[in-house]
């Protein structure tokens, strides 16, 4: 796996972990369900991801572009739930990783 993709997956995992602390695992599952539903329009593989444990989701089979798209959707949806400050924080983290 290339370096950039690994870093992106780590960022996503860390962010999911942090989000679950704020909104809980069941709400996070709904967030993932919604994002996977939207992304499955472009790649049906998203539809079949196991989300019983959000922190154990396997992102390795997706491209960097898809993972970026996922992260932006995550930021957008969670930003609506937790507010603009949280959204900015997630975006700042992503920028740092670039």
């Amino acid at each position: 796996m290339d370096k950039e993709k690994s870093r992106l997956i780590v960022l996503i995992k860390e962010s999911l972990n942090e989000i679950s602390m704020y909104i809980g695992t069941s709400a996070l599952k709904v967030v993932l369900e919604r994002i996977f539903f939207d992304l499955s329009v472009y790649n049906p593989a998203w539809e079949h991801i196991e989300i019983s444990d959000p922190e154990e989701v396997d992102f390795s089979k997706f491209s960097i572009e898809e993972l970026k798209k996922f992260y932006h959707m995550l930021v957008d949806i969670v930003g609506n739930i937790l507010g603009d400050e949280f959204k900015k924080e997630l975006l700042r983290k992503a920028k740092k990783e670039e």
């Binding site: 709904v30 949806i77 609506n80």
Partner: protein
């Protein structure tokens, strides 16, 4: 926070720019209060911007009936049905009495339609038919509102709730916003009000606001409140000559432009005649001047007849659209609506317009609350000032021979730049009329009391000084 503009007249001003997106709003109120109309009108306005709405009917009113009534409004357009507006009847699912099935079905519909707005009408009926225990209801509400925010759907839960329900039903603690619609009976008139009780993530106009349901839908007229920070006392050197030398002298030169003049006096004394004369003077002073004459007591036809009889030259200005008479009935309307009409006309005519309000005493008929009445007068006069209007306001005093002639009880004299009092006095065996100037802000006005008369074909005639004491 992003906002969802409803496009409803006055509503987006009420919510300071629209409803916070993805919030859950309860539209509460008694049957017939306008909840469903507000929800449907929002849906059709969003449809005009290409945004989708899912309307779910439960068990209170058949969908076909709701649609039939809504189709009588001008906002209804059948081309949006099935394209931007989607209806669904879930009464069958409710009969199964399983909240999980309902949630699953709503989820399915949201995934399929991807609406911007979800309307559930009636949400109260849904809750009543679905839940035996508070615990299950709370879980359902929590899950539904969470799913809606994650799916980025703004929702209206419409229900026949009363104020007492708001304190005890748990849906109100889960909701992000509560909008309450209600009606009151005031002196045999039915008036409608809307009030935001809660709106997370947004500021809003506090207190009840008057609204009306017309064939075009809902129209909300926001309460006019004094804008203290914007109160200003602009001082214009420019004076408008009235054409009556004695009056100009008593005013210390003429009527100051941009001022508010209060003309106070008992019934029949000539307040309206003076105001018509001032309107003529204002229009003659500058060819660009316009004048709006708001009358609450006399019809425009009568006012024009008075002016003709007294040789006031108003007709050319009427023909050139420089002078407009607007008759408003104070009895059947709300004061907020009246103020809205006045401000609307002024804004459409532009700054620097001459204004007459004949009379503010009539405002009283549409507002029985003293504090509200005074607040409204202050707001309106303040509006005249910052719009740079030259305004003339008549005020009727009850006692024809009394000395308490200034409208002090409402403190409106404070905001008036000039005060003229007209009064009757006895000069046996006659009743005569007298004029005095009580106040002209920034001017050394006359302190005289002068007899005056109103003569057909001649107009206002200022006579000699009243030598006897008439203010005892």
């Amino acid at each position: 926070m992003e906002k969802l503009r409803t496009g409803i007249f006055g509503f987006d001003e009420l919510t300071h720019g629209g409803l916070p997106k993805y919030s859950t709003i309860i539209l509460a109120g008694s049957p017939g209060s306008g909840k469903t109309t507000l929800a449907f009108e929002t849906a059709f306005n969003l449809a005009r911007d290409g945004k989708r709405t899912l309307i779910i009917s439960t068990v209170s009113e058949p969908l076909a009936k709701m649609v039939r009534f809504m189709s009588s409004f001008s906002f209804f357009d059948k081309k949006f049905i099935g394209r931007e507006i989607f209806f669904e009847d879930i009464s069958e699912f409710i009969q199964k009495e399983d909240p999980a099935v309902i949630l699953e079905h709503i989820d399915f519909l949201i995934k399929k339609i991807r609406p911007e707005l979800l309307i559930i009408d009636s949400f109260k009926s849904l809750c009543e038919n679905l839940f035996d225990s508070e615990k299950i209801k709370r879980k359902f509400l929590y899950t539904l509102s969470l799913r809606l925010s994650i799916w980025q759907v703004t929702s209206f839960f419409v229900g026949e709730y009363l104020l007492s329900d708001i304190k005890k039903e748990i849906e109100f603690s889960v909701a992000d916003g509560i909008i309450y619609l209600f009606g009151t009976e005031e002196a045999e008139l039915q008036k409608r009000y809307i009030q935001i009780l809660k709106l997370r993530g947004s500021s809003f106009e506090k207190g009840k606001q008057y609204f009306d349901i017309t064939s075009d839908g809902i129209k909300i007229y926001l309460r006019l409140r004094p804008d203290i920070e914007r109160i200003r006392y602009c001082f214009s050197e420019k004076e408008i000559k009235t054409g009556i030398a004695e009056i100009d002298r008593m005013f210390g030169g003429g009527i100051r432009k941009g001022s508010v003049t209060l003309i106070s006096g008992p019934t029949g004394i000539g307040k309206t005649i003076f105001t018509l004369k001032f309107a003529e003077s204002y229009l003659k002073a500058d060819k660009n001047h316009k004048f709006l004459f708001f009358s609450f007591e006399e019809s425009p036809d009568w006012l024009i007849k008075y002016a003709q009889a007294l040789n006031f030259e108003l007709e050319p200005f009427i023909k050139n659209n420089k002078l407009k008479f607007i008759f408003l009935s104070p009895v059947e309307l709300d004061l907020d609506y009246l103020c809205f009409r006045i401000m609307y006309e002024i804004r459409n005519t532009g700054e620097d317009t001459g204004i007459a309000i004949d009379s503010i005493t009539s405002f009283r008929y549409s507002q029985r609350d003293d504090i509200r009445y005074r607040e409204m007068l202050w707001s309106l006069m303040n509006f005249f000032k910052y719009s740079n209007n030259t305004a003339f306001i008549t005020y009727e005093v009850e006692d024809p021979f009394g000395v308490n002639l200034i409208a002090h009880e409402m403190k409106i004299s404070v905001l008036s730049d000039s005060i003229i009092t007209l009064r009757y006095y006895e000069d046996s065996p006659y009743i005569k009329r007298a004029l005095s100037v009580i106040k002209i802000r920034g001017s050394n006005h006359s302190k005289e009391i002068r007899e005056f008369d109103i003569v057909e074909g001649k107009g206002i005639i200022i006579k000699e000084l009243v030598s006897k004491g008439i203010m005892k």
